[in-house]
């Protein structure tokens, strides 16, 4: 009853936004100032200790507070400054001076299952603050991590709302490199970050070494991102913020491809050289033709609007926020490619009793997206690069179809506008996530926390495949030239619903105690149970009326199943689950904050593993020495010097549960199309076969990580340096082994394949200074180096696992995982110029089909024959060094910040060219070999229709240097002077921003930043480029 009453009171407070004020007896007023510069501190909390009474200073730092008779202890506090307590018994003026806390020294960071004073941390972690996130104005929060957290590699894609690739300290695992995301203590996935509004985030802590991640055991293998969202504070005056921005996006560059006349000339040349006739007898009529890239890329808007309110009384504190983000794609704009997010957050803390606190965090999100086909030579972008430039944009002939068609390219690749125009899909998701948490202080230093975290995500998608006319000679038409339907063709509408529910229940106790005054112990022990479930269902139906998206719905479609078309109406259902359980404990120790030590342990069990390997234990320890706390240490300039070291193990269980499954039925639509059944006397009989097998030996992927580092803060926190060297050895990497073809079409279970070693340096340097009272300067540079090596594969170390597949007439694969090399390096033929004449061909290793002008490949194994054994290392898709530089400047009311990001040493494999006889080509083909002595550059062999030498095989001809420097963010802001602010506004700021402003690179494609799976890193199949965004924005505080 008591609790309920307090809850109601709390709710009432919440809705009224008023602070409780009781009997007035003593009235005190005064000003709160900052010690360093004497400036007033607006927004500071002035509260009567032990009560719900309090006030917040106004814009001039002044406050008024009524105290009960007899007075009490006043606590004055402000974020980032040390609190001051003073006993007040009489009315009158009471001024308070707050000492600037040395932020770096007093900061508390969020760690797994607790918090820790930053100076006492002996593991390796990076922190990104809300201010840094907000400055970037990101759609997804990962953008703000890129280049700001040393040791973390973020590769963004251009698709609106898409998951970036995040790799913490080298490639840890091949069954998924996504780090664990923990939002306010609740374990979620990286994909869930698309539902988090970056503006709601207070801080991000990225746990990098084993000492900090081991408490997450098997989930911690890829590193951990701890997201702490904003909350209200006790006795905090209501603070309302409104942020609004609007931007326009454009494609930063076009790729150089042939214009119509050049294309015509090349096609003629290819045809004549291979013994045919010129295809275009009169080149003069062709002109420049159509540049399809200019037709598909359009300027598109990006807007973000957010509001947030936070505040608190003695018993209830809250953060309420709402936001709307809408990003249209630069390909197809909002009609075809977009990402929208609307979200509402309520984070409420109830101090229901002096010892019992109840926390209720709830976020509801609505996500909406539309997408286009990507990442292949015949996607919309791929088609724009490969399609016939002699075709006019619009169809001028007497057939159906809005856009022009080719009479040369008759399959696979279509007019990109026709393709875009016939892309219809929409996906709406709703997500509810959050936690119910109770914290009970059993003793003064013993706190019990029990937390039920949940994520409920429902997804509802629809797509429509219309009937399309691609051109009179095209063999893939489903509409005839006159608009009639091709025999037996149908349009189809697909509906799909997916439902996911994940929950975890974690209970743990934190006990902090001291032994003999100077020995401080912080301990935590607890357990966790979690379950992830998913299910989905969908239907499809043919014959949507009028072949139109307007009527694309299961109910309005008219298809009915017949003997020859039983899929006119179809459906599916699936479900799955996974359970984990864990026990964990950690002990943090320090002596006078001078000697630090930490030890953590976790025992995990997972449904994913074989009977004998279900459970595993993970341990980690770290130690630190705060040199600057030593009595002998007497260097004035140094505020803090800490030396750290850690070692520990973590793991990974990202793999689905296994079974020796028997499948009965007919055709199979799985990845290996392992169909069943046969027909006798023209009647179909279902059959059965083994479809999946178990690997009883499958066990945990384990990581052993060593970390050595130091933190240095100097000149009153003007300069801070944090550096770490790490070595991470991963053993028993889980992924799917390369299947020998005699395996057939059965699905092969995951296995513990091999081991890798990753080492590198994480360095972060910040220098912040006030050059004058008006001019402030801040610099932060992060440096990340990673070197990865495969140290073991199978027993004899000869196994290779291939990735990076693409199609250029043949299916090719270009990356490989092999002992002794960087994981998934580019693997192919090395070129050695071009054959200039037949004598050179005769002198070289046997290369079937070679003619003068063809590429000469290097005979790596010197056996006199060019074959598959001559493939070798031709490049590395992973950068050796990543740099991030954040520059902030402010002068009076102006503020400026710029973020530059550099990736050095990575190669890119160009895989978007179809290499068809009639497909368009990069302009570089104009430099081709045309006769002896014209060129010896292997990138430009002779051009011919019949490529007997297979010049298109995977070789270094397609490798380009993908290093780049990008100015990712430039922002200039102006905060209006106080006169304008008046009573209503605390501050008003306007800004202009350019994102992806400039890119410096040798790469010839759209964007050297190519996101994708680990196996496909650096393989550019025509990926969606990141847009350049020009934004205007407004930040208001009330």
């Amino acid at each position: 009853m008591q609790i309920k009453l307090k809850f109601l009171v709390g709710m009432a407070l919440l809705f009224c936004f008023v602070n409780a004020a009781y009997a007035q007896s003593i009235r005190i007023t005064g000003k709160v100032t900052q010690k360093s510069d004497g400036q007033s501190v607006p927004g500071a909390s002035v509260a009567l200790k032990g009560t719900s009474q309090g006030a917040v200073t106004d814009v001039n730092g002044r406050y008024t507070l009524n105290l009960p008779q007899g007075g009490g202890v006043i606590v004055v506090s402000f974020v980032g400054m040390g609190s001051v307590e003073r006993a007040v018994t009489a009315a009158g003026e009471q001024n308070f001076v707050l000492e600037d806390s040395n932020k770096a020294l007093d900061e508390v960071v969020v760690i797994g299952y607790g918090t820790q004073k930053a100076t006492k941390v002996s593991g390796a972690l990076s922190v990104v603050k809300s201010a840094d996130i907000q400055r970037q104005n990101p759609v997804r929060v990962e953008e703000a991590i890129q280049g700001r957290a040393a040791g973390v590699t973020v590769v963004q894609g251009g698709t609106p709302g898409s998951n970036p690739t995040i790799i913490i300290r080298g490639i840890p695992s091949y069954s998924g490199s996504d780090p664990l995301v923990v939002i306010d203590g609740v374990q979620q996935s990286l994909g869930d970050l698309n539902a988090v509004n970056p503006i709601d985030i207070e801080s991000l802590t990225i746990l990098k070494d084993a000492a900090s991640t081991a408490i997450y055991g098997i989930r911690g293998g890829n590193g951990v991102i701890l997201v702490t969202t904003k909350t209200g504070k006790k006795n905090m005056k209501t603070e309302l913020t409104v942020n609004s921005s609007y931007g326009v996006q454009e494609v930063p560059r076009y790729m150089p491809v042939l214009n119509a006349t050049e294309y015509g000339a090349m096609v003629n040349e290819g045809s004549v050289i291979s013994g045919g006739n010129p295809v275009f007898p009169d080149l003069s009529v062709l002109g420049t033709g159509t540049n399809w890239q200019k037709e598909i890329f359009k300027v598109a808007p990006l807007q973000q609007h957010n509001f947030g309110v936070r505040g608190g009384s003695e018993t209830v504190s809250y953060y309420l926020a709402g936001g709307y983000t809408s990003q249209s794609g630069i390909v197809g704009r909002s009609d075809k490619s977009r990402f929208d997010r609307g979200n509402f957050t309520a984070n409420i803390d109830f101090q229901v009793a002096p010892k019992l606190k109840f926390i209720l965090n709830t976020t509801g999100v609505v996500l909406h997206s539309k997408g286009i086909q990507e990442n292949s030579f015949n996607s919309v972008i791929g088609s724009a690069l490969n399609f016939d430039p002699t075709v006019p944009v619009l169809n001028t002939t007497n057939t159906v179809g809005k856009y022009g068609y080719s009479n040369l390219i008759l399959s696979e690749i279509y007019n990109p506008l026709t393709k875009l125009d016939n892309t219809y899909n929409t996906n709406t998701g709703s997500k509810l996530y959050g936690k119910f948490e109770a914290q009970y202080d059993i003793l003064k230093n013993l706190k019990l926390t029990s937390r039920l975290g949940y994520t409920k995500y429902d997804d509802n998608g629809k797509s429509f495949t219309p009937l399309v006319f691609y051109g009179p000679l095209n063999v893939d038409n489903s509409l005839n030239a006159d608009g009639s339907t091709v025999l037996d063709r149908h349009n189809t509408v697909n509906h799909g619903k997916a439902s996911n529910f994940n929950y975890s229940w974690e209970t743990f106790a934190n006990y902090n105690f001291k032994v003999a005054q100077d020995h401080n112990f912080e301990t935590v022990v607890g357990f966790s149970l979690s379950k992830e479930t998913n299910n989905g269902a969908g239907v499809s139906r043919q014959d949507v009326p009028f072949n139109s998206w307007t009527f694309a719905d299961y109910r309005s479609a008219t298809g009915t199943n017949t003997a020859t078309n039983p899929a006119a109406k179809d459906g599916y259902y699936y479900e799955g689950f996974k359970r984990n359980m864990s026990f964990f404990a950690r002990l943090n120790y320090d002596y006078k904050e001078r000697y630090l030590a930490s030890f953590s342990a976790r025992r995990d069990g997972s449904t994913s593993f074989g009977e004998d390997r279900k459970f595993a234990n993970f341990f980690a320890g770290s130690a630190g020495w705060v040199v600057s706390k030593e009595n002998f240490f007497n260097v004035q300039a140094i505020d803090l010097l800490k030396i750290r070291g850690s070692y520990g193990t973590v793991g990974n269980d990202i793999t689905p549960p296994q079974a020796n499954g028997i499948t009965t039925g007919g055709p199979d639509y799985g990845p290996t199309a392992n169909s069943n059944g046969y027909n006798f006397s023209n009647v179909f009989y279902p059959g059965s076969t083994l479809n999946s097998t178990v690997n009883p030996l499958l066990g945990w992927e384990t990581q052993k990580q060593t970390n050595i580092g130091f933190d240095l803060t100097m000149f009153k926190a003007k300069l801070s340096i944090s550096a770490d060297y790490y070595e991470k050895r991963v053993e028993g990497l889980i992924f799917y082994p390369a299947t020998a073809l005699p395996v057939g079409t059965i699905q092969i279970p995951a296995a513990n394949i091999g081991s890798t070693k990753n080492n590198g340096l994480d360095l972060s340097v910040s220098y912040n200074t006030n050059l004058s009272s008006a001019f402030k300067l801040g610099n932060t540079v992060t440096l990340t180096t990673v070197k990865s090596l495969v140290t073991a594969t199978n027993s004899d170390g000869t196994a290779k696992i291939f990735g990076g597949s693409y199609f250029n007439g043949q299916s090719q694969s270009v990356t490989v995982f092999q002992k002794g090399y960087s994981p998934f390096y580019f693997y192919g033929y090395k070129t050695d110029g071009l054959f200039q004449n037949t004598a050179e061909i005769a002198a070289a290793a046997t290369q079937p089909g070679a003619k003068p002008g063809d590429i000469r490949y290097v005979d790596i194994n010197k056996d006199g024959v060019i074959n598959g054994d001559d493939r070798t290392n031709i490049g590395n898709p992973f950068p050796t060094t990543i740099l991030g530089w954040t520059l902030t400047m402010s002068y009076k009311n102006f503020d400026f910040n710029m973020f530059t990001y550099a990736s050095i040493g990575n190669d890119i494999y160009r895989a978007y060219e179809r290499n068809g006889n009639f497909t368009n080509k990069p302009r570089s083909i104009l430099a081709r070999w045309t006769g002896e002595g014209t060129t010896n550059d292997a990138r430009y062999p002779r051009y011919t229709f019949t490529d007997d030498n297979s010049n298109i095989r995977a070789s270094d001809r397609y490798i380009e240097d993908g290093s780049f420097v990008k100015i990712k963010n430039v922002q200039l802001g102006y905060t209006f002077p106080s006169i304008l602010r008046g009573k209503i506004f605390k501050s008003i700021r306007v800004y202009a921003q350019v994102r992806n402003a400039l890119t410096f690179t040798k790469y010839t494609g759209f964007d050297p930043e190519i996101s994708g799976g680990i196996f496909d890193t650096g393989v550019d199949r025509g990926s969606y480029p990141q847009p350049r965004v020009y934004t205007m924005g407004l930040d208001i505080k009330l």
């Binding site: 390219i409 069990g605 299947t739 073809l741 395996v743």
Partner: protein, 490 residues
């Protein structure tokens, strides 16, 4: 309480496939029905070997890969032009699915006597059922050995990927020995007729064994196993040759073994174009953009398997096989003005001729129309049995008169008269038999393998390199993973 909670903990992370509604190997092969159902899926990869038939002609002088341009259907162009490399997605797929067939047969044979749970399940006809399985395994290995020569050979359960690096290529002779053994085992138990069309019969096994013996140049053995098929009187030649290849002609009196396809189980998966119940090769044969009146029977296709003029020239006047085997679209158009036919010529390597035996016809597909044509592949016909027997007799030093008799049966049907009988013997007769095989079996996927088998490939095929092109390159994916040696020259 501690014990209870520990047990509960263990249960929480238990992996029971039944929680996921999965039928496991422990649950299966418990009844006759399980065995019979699993046997059906051993047949499935026969359908997936679809492109072997196509390659058998494209690699030979019978047909070309046609299509849109030199870069269209590249895997087939390279086979056509002998510009093959180990990167060839068509060959990779065939290598893989032939082994899926082997694996499925091996798995069932492994649990023939006792199932996974250790129980014995007996039922009437179990041995005969396994006769089909032995035949199928032989068929898969025969396909592998005739395409790639020495190939990995395993008969004990499914292939173990964990030992991929230990994979060795077995000599051709060992593979053939296994094929012979399986076919003999099949012949011993198979019935001479089956209630369901498409099921393997004893005659099919004998005919296949005869063919295998010919590939091994074991002529006496070949004749010995083929004669019973002929003398059984179970088969007869169909008077109207073209009608054999109509839907109504499927599994007819001349049919010894056909790979069954149907449009009754529509399929949509482009990711595995040949893994449905339909015949994908039919779409490849089709005339581009053909349209006409409702009565015009043909549907459009891709024109990527076009008979050559050389093939058309191989037929003499009056041979009824010519028009269906090398279907001349212009002649057909002229002959049927009422159809109002319009079509597009194949932009590349056009011959004006089409594979009339397996042309897409209206109403004969379903689902994703390209993937679901109903046309069975006529793998072994009685006429071939006669020609094989004739070759075995002739080359085995037997009675040429008897051999001639068999050849003339085939020629009389072709010409519908006795005026075209052959009268030669010895080597000349051998040549006649080989040429007759081409005319009788063209576009049924035998020509290339016949030319290699009989040593004629180098003289008949442009670009063929002796000592190299007799077999196809081992797919690069296979070399990558197992490290087995490549075939010479690739």
């Amino acid at each position: 309480m501690l014990i209870t909670s520990l047990t509960a903990c263990k249960k929480w992370v238990q992996n029971d496939p039944h929680d996921r509604y999965l039928v496991t190997d422990q649950d299966y092969l418990q009844s006759e029905s399980d065995y019979r159902t699993m046997a059906i899926s051993v047949y499935s990869p026969l359908q997936w070997l679809n492109q072997v038939t196509v390659i058998g002609d494209i690699a030979s002088d019978n047909s070309v890969a046609g299509g849109e341009s030199a870069s269209d259907v590249l895997p087939l162009q390279q086979i056509d032009d002998f510009t093959l490399t180990p990167v060839n997605s068509t060959l990779t797929d065939l290598f893989q699915v032939a082994y899926e067939g082997v694996n499925r047969a091996n798995y069932l044979i492994q649990y023939k006597d006792k199932n996974k749970a250790g129980e014995t399940v007996n039922f009437n006809g179990k041995d005969a059922l396994f006769g089909e399985i032995y035949f199928l395994r032989a068929y898969y290995y025969f396909t592998l050995v005739k395409m790639w020569g020495d190939v990995p050979l395993f008969t004990d359960g499914r292939y173990d990927n964990n030992n991929a690096r230990a994979t060795k290529r077995a000599p051709k002779a060992e593979v053939y020995a296994q094929v012979e053994a399986d076919l003999k085992a099949a012949i011993a138990v198979l019935p001479i007729t089956q209630a369901q069309q498409g099921r393997i019969t004893k005659y099919a096994a004998q005919a296949l064994l005869g063919k295998v013996y010919l590939y091994e140049n074991k002529f006496t053995e070949a004749d010995a196993v083929l004669e019973p098929v002929i003398t059984s009187g179970a088969f007869s030649l169909v008077a109207d040759y073209a009608s054999i290849y109509l839907a109504s002609g499927e599994n007819g009196p001349e049919s010894v073994f056909e790979i069954q396809y149907t449009n009754g189980s529509p399929y949509y998966n482009w990711g595995g174009a040949t893994r449905g119940q339909g015949n994908y090769a039919v779409q490849q044969n089709g005339i581009r953009g053909i349209s006409g009146s409702a009565a015009m029977p043909y549907a459009a296709g891709w024109s990527t398997n076009l008979p050559t003029q050389d093939l058309a020239n191989a037929y003499s006047a009056g041979d009824q096989r010519k028009d269906v085997t090398a279907f001349n679209i212009e002649a057909y158009k002229t002959a049927h003005p009422d159809y109002g036919i319009s079509y597009q010529v194949a932009p590349y390597k056009n011959t004006g001729l089409y594979n009339g035996k397996y042309l897409p016809r209206k109403g004969e597909t379903s689902g994703q129309v390209e993937l679901n044509y109903l046309n069975n592949f006529r793998v072994l016909r009685y006429s071939e049995v006669l020609l094989m027997a004739a070759e075995a007799i002739n080359r085995g030093g037997g009675d040429d008169a008897k051999a001639r008799g068999y050849v003339n049966l085939v020629r009389r049907r072709a010409f519908k008269d006795n005026n075209h009988d052959v009268a030669t013997s010895g080597t000349a007769l051998k040549e006649v038999i080989w040429d007759e095989r081409r005319r009788e079996l063209a576009m049924d996927g035998d020509r290339f393998f016949d030319l290699v088998r009989t040593g004629q490939a180098a003289t008949k095929l442009t670009g063929f390199v002796t000592g190299k092109n007799e077999v196809f390159p081992i797919p690069i994916e296979m070399i990558n993973v197992t490290g087995i040696p490549q075939n010479p020259g690739y």
